[in-house]
Symmetry: C2
Subunit: 719 residues, 2 copies
């Protein structure tokens, strides 16, 4: 094993394990040592000649201040569960069913005017004189019997959610940490002062690693252990709210938001659902606030000669790296924890000087969902390799500057295979980075446009990690695209038709009514007309699951006339189906890739049915003008299905795949770096592979070990 160069790797150090820290720093080629939540770095480590990252969660660990200023804590709107009136008098205890260690009613005079009581049966807001509140009880004097009522209310969040998670899941027993709202003037002054002090007290720190900023993603706990976690949305803004925020919003926008703008009939405003205009306004309002406050923090950090990196996770709300204001903050680096390829691309594409990935697994006894990692029964080296296979193919497409780990370093001691795996991975990472530094990989002359409600704001993500969003077809599509040799652009409906210029393949992927397929946005006829024109003039359209689904038109997909396929919501009752043959698909379709939809209808006999299940089409092609539209009932990511997507793109656009390098086995992916004259081969399979690879100069046959990353410099084509 060759000695690693010391570069581009961030190692979590651990006080008390100085020798281990320095040994692993050498083996993994670290140039930076960091602390983690629960560890710190000893003087011996700090003085070993490495750059130092120090982690700060700015709004947390100020319990004394929070105790003295309880009104500086963060808040949220909640809705009570519905209660059915069985007589004219109805009493509701708003917090029933919520975790009272997380929430406390905000019934202050400033908050109560924002409370609402709803007759949900009639979908009617009660006027303020129809109910009274005292001592934690809402009382409706003249309820309509047999209607169900809810109370929307403000409450304090009295337990920082990540700390709460660690207590409830990992059995932590330390003091519950509270969190401060940076909008609270005294809290903000305090936090800025605290940061200055911190900078003074930590002279060895080169990089302040902010983790992340102010507002946690929305995580609402319940009182019943059978549903401890009631609601989780990694991109929702509900935890930013407060009477002060609502007043500031009203002053600026000239209209007031109400509880219902957040509660939304009890469903809340989940990121997977199309936002209201009010929500979009509020998001912009919060994004500017977060950027402004973040800018002040960064400026303090810079004053002390340190750099400010932001770790994009947990309390990141309002700080979207592809948002309008991210660039104005002045971060020196963005660190993203990654399980998947799309997360790698999310980080790599952000406009910031340094892009760093924090790999998984985290050095912690248990991992996701409580499964063992660094403890008996754990196989962290397998986990690391599994995540690496997802990330590697994305790294091959776009350069990332650094990688690293986090957690308790001592836990690696009993897992030498993990140490070896990370050694290999970090070496491969540096080799791939070196290729990028010499020149970008060849790409097919194809730009894929992903059309969603959110557009570029949610570039390369839906909201959380893959495993949190994997019931949405789009995340599978993004994961596939993250390693394909094509350009990808994220378009919102508002960007059309202008943004279709330069797009060869347009994708709309989602379920009816969600933010990804678009929902009511498709009521705009010019949207459908723009896509129709795009296809007629030669563009390619790919729809997944329920693309462009919208109620109120003559078809349930607004683009049904292009796909030749419509959703059958029951309204085709009595209309008989076309009796059409199933033709041989021109691409290889791996098993378990498509959905199993039962509610589709073929509209035209000219539709080519490639896959059918119980007489219902699952994958089809239709032509219109010079263009084509392909429909897939679903898409489940695998290396093989990613290859199928590439094959489809090649089929639709007629480009030559060899330009970017290609292998005949679908488990093998390639990248061709013309500047380095290097062919990168990645075996995604746990089996050895003999594959024929082609690149612009020719083709040859290569043997790859399981999972192998192979760098062919100046490959010689077969005669």
């Amino acid at each position: 094993m060759k000695e690693n160069i010391r570069a581009d790797f961030t190692l979590p150090g651990e006080s008390g394990y100085e020798q281990l820290t320095l040994d692993l720093a050498r083996r993994w080629g670290a140039d930076v040592i960091r602390d983690s939540d629960g560890t710190h770095l000893s003087p011996e480590i700090l003085s070993a000649g490495y750059r130092v990252y120090s982690t700060i969660c700015i709004i947390r660990e100020h319990n004394a201040f929070a105790a003295a200023h309880p009104d500086a804590q963060q808040q949220t709107f909640l809705s009570s569960d519905p209660v059915i009136a069985t007589s004219e008098t109805l009493v509701i205890h708003p917090l029933d069913g919520y975790f009272t260690e997380q929430f406390e009613l905000n019934d202050s005079p400033e908050a109560l005017p924002y409370w609402q009581v709803w007759d949900r049966t009639a979908n009617e807001l009660l006027s303020r004189d129809e109910w009274t509140y005292s001592n934690g009880e809402v009382r409706i004097g003249h309820a309509r019997p047999w209607h169900r009522y809810t109370v929307s209310f403000l409450c304090w969040r009295i337990w920082e959610e990540i700390n709460m998670y660690n207590h409830t899941t990992n059995h932590w027993t330390s003091e519950h940490l509270r969190q401060l709202d940076p909008r609270h003037p005294e809290a903000w002054t305090y936090l800025c002062g605290w940061l200055r002090d911190w900078c003074v007290r930590n002279p060895d720190t080169d990089v302040v690693r902010l983790t992340s900023l102010f507002y946690n993603f929305v995580w609402i706990f319940g009182s019943d252990p059978r549903r401890r976690s009631r609601f989780v949305d990694w991109a929702s803004y509900d935890f930013t709210v407060s009477p002060a925020a609502l007043r500031a919003f009203e002053a600026e926008y000239g209209y007031a938001l109400t509880a219902e703008d957040f509660i939304h009939m009890g469903k809340l405003q989940a990121t997977h659902r199309p936002p209201t205009r009010h929500k979009l306004d509020y998001m912009d309002f919060i994004q500017r606030f977060v950027a402004d406050r973040a800018r002040q923090l960064v400026s303090i950090i810079h004053e002390y000669g340190k750099q400010a990196y932001v770790f994009y996770d947990d309390s990141w709300v309002g700080m979207e790296p592809y948002g309008k204001y991210f660039g104005t903050v002045g971060f020196d680096g963005l660190i993203k924890c990654v399980f998947s390829g799309f997360e790698c691309r999310l980080c790599a594409g952000a406009s910031v000087p340094v892009h760093e990935l924090r790999f998984h697994p985290y050095l912690f006894p248990v991992g996701l969902g409580g499964l063992p990692t660094f403890m008996e029964g754990g196989h962290p080296e397998k986990d690391a390799m599994d995540y690496w296979l997802h990330v590697r193919r994305a790294l091959a497409r776009q350069c990332v500057d650094r990688i690293g780990l986090g957690g308790y370093l001592h836990l690696t001691q009993d897992f030498p295979a993990f140490v070896d795996t990370i050694t290999e991975i970090s070496d491969q990472f540096r080799s791939i980075k070196a290729l990028h530094m010499a020149g970008a990989p060849a790409e097919l002359p194809v730009t894929v446009g992903i059309l969603t409600t959110w557009g570029s704001l949610r570039s390369w993500t839906l909201s959380g990690h893959f495993h949190e969003t994997n019931t949405n077809v789009l995340i599978h599509v993004l994961e596939a695209l993250s390693g394909l040799p094509v350009s990808v652009r994220f378009l919102s409906f508002e960007d059309l038709p202008r943004s279709l210029s330069g797009i060869q393949v347009l994708i709309n992927a989602g379920a009816a009514g969600d933010a990804w397929s678009g929902g009511d946005a498709w009521k705009d006829p010019e949207l459908s007309a723009a896509v129709t024109r795009f296809v007629h003039e030669g563009g390619s359209l790919i729809g997944f699951n329920e693309p462009s689904a919208v109620p109120g038109l003559d078809t349930n997909f607004a683009l049904a006339h292009l796909f030749g396929i419509d959703l059958n919501t029951g309204d085709y009752a009595c209309h008989l189906p076309w009796d059409l043959p199933v033709s041989n698909p021109p691409v290889s379709i791996p098993e378990d890739t498509l959905g199993h939809k039962t509610d589709l209808r073929v509209l035209s006999p000219d539709v080519e049915i490639w896959v059918s299940e119980n007489g219902i089409p699952q994958m089809t092609r239709a032509r219109f003008g010079k263009g084509q539209a392909i429909y897939l009932s679903g898409f489940h990511y695998s290396p093989q299905s990613a290859r199928m997507l590439l094959d489809l793109i090649v089929l639709l656009t007629g480009v030559s795949p060899d330009t970017a390098g290609t292998a005949d086995l679908s488990c093998v992916e390639t990248a061709w770096y013309p500047a380095s004259q290097t062919l990168l081969l990645m075996n995604n399979s746990d089996q050895a592979a003999d594959t024929r690879v082609a690149w612009p100069a020719g083709h040859c046959t290569v043997h790859l070990a399981p999972f192998e990353t192979c760098f062919l410099e100046n490959p010689a084509p077969d005669a």
Copy 2:
């Protein structure tokens, strides 16, 4: 085999097969001989001492008159298939894609004002000056490119649909029969005169069997053999339309119907979908017209000393036996062809002197879907037994006066097993009828209410036969109920809350947005409140598939708060599920009875989950107040699932099943006739069964042969 009495059986006679006719009349115990479409009765048959039915399809077989008065033919609205504008000029040929042997444009000056042109992309009606028509072409001069357009137009129906079906399916080659519109004044005068002549020319006829009246169910053929049948709706009114009807409607109702009232964005107004207010008005208008014209025909028939029976099939539109005006016509009998138990109940419950069933199979070489019946490969005796098993259990519940067959009698000659089976069946029928005549069977003190949009108008039917509507869960429920010892009432939403009085078990069964679950009717909060009160006060609710589904509320089932189950249309994104155990169901649930829904959500931890599939509940119980609500994701009829439904009713109401007779095997059904002190046992299985049966006096054990119908007179209970 005992000699059958001669009663209550209608035999299709056939000229040329006089001996066979009389022989089978004797064996099957016929007292009536009829003709059929394609056969006639010879003098020898007519004079053999039997009563005689003669079949008339009043609007058909007047081609000479139709040729002389082409404007007396029937019409319909159709919509062209959508055509996408690729430039500003767009030409549409309205009939493209339709079967031109069935349809001919009605571009007369009286019809053209009813034509419409729609921009379906923008969902906008074009004004009359935006398009021109000539020579079969609609031309839009300033179309919006990339929008799709349709033309709604009137057309003549130039081929009577049943005749068209026989030509295209059974290769008939005779002249295409046309059909007259009784609304056309000259046609009506002609038809009345023709009927008088007919009565004079057919002195031997005792009963004129009208088959049925004027307007066929809607059956639209296409030009492409890959979708010959485009649309079939057994209860739609589209074929009743004409400019004359539209003018009369407007004069009476004070507002005009337009093409779009029929075309409905190209989906037409299928019976399975909730009707518009306009459609309900139009249906009432047509029902009164049909009843009025039918009354005139019956009165002519009575004048000539004959009786008028109506055969409920094919051109029955507007003549619903449970409609407001059926009773005013004065029919002497209702004949219903039956495959199923619900059809038997439909006939038995209608308010008319004589109820007669025409059994299947029809004596024809091919049967449903073109499968062999009375030809090589056919097993008509098995078909007959299969239908009999469905009908027998319904006959046991409610008295029917007569049974019979139809078709070409000579075809039975090669099928002696069929002759034996009918002998058995007709004998059993008469025995069951005799029990009813002595006194009704015991019934549990339970009234089941079926809550749908259509209410009593569609009592015991959705529209067509079982096999035409079997993707709707309600028809399975009705088939099950048709043989259960409970009262059944059909309630429309407009009947609530008044009609809930006296109901113990309320059923709502259908798919989201259909006429059976109710769709937008549930937007009325008082509907949900009425059912909520009903359950709280002790009523039982059973929901199937997507009961009370409606958009726009905080739950997707308006009754989700009662079921504790909601439909998840995606709007529960980020809301986590309850982690609840599956409990043992208190009733036995046969395999393949429930649905396989993937989009359900449990709302409360108090819901008992009886059946779950991949973590999604398929059958549950929730309690509210003194009542209960049971949810089933689907329901597939079988004798066993019918028993499950009975068990559920017993469980919910607490009644004692023995009151009405019960067997311990789910394949055996019972009926207890107190007046005759007779226990009727029906083995629904092809296996012999030893079962313990209980009735009010006690219980005993009985051995039943496969399919046996067993009459236990004065049964002796075991000690």
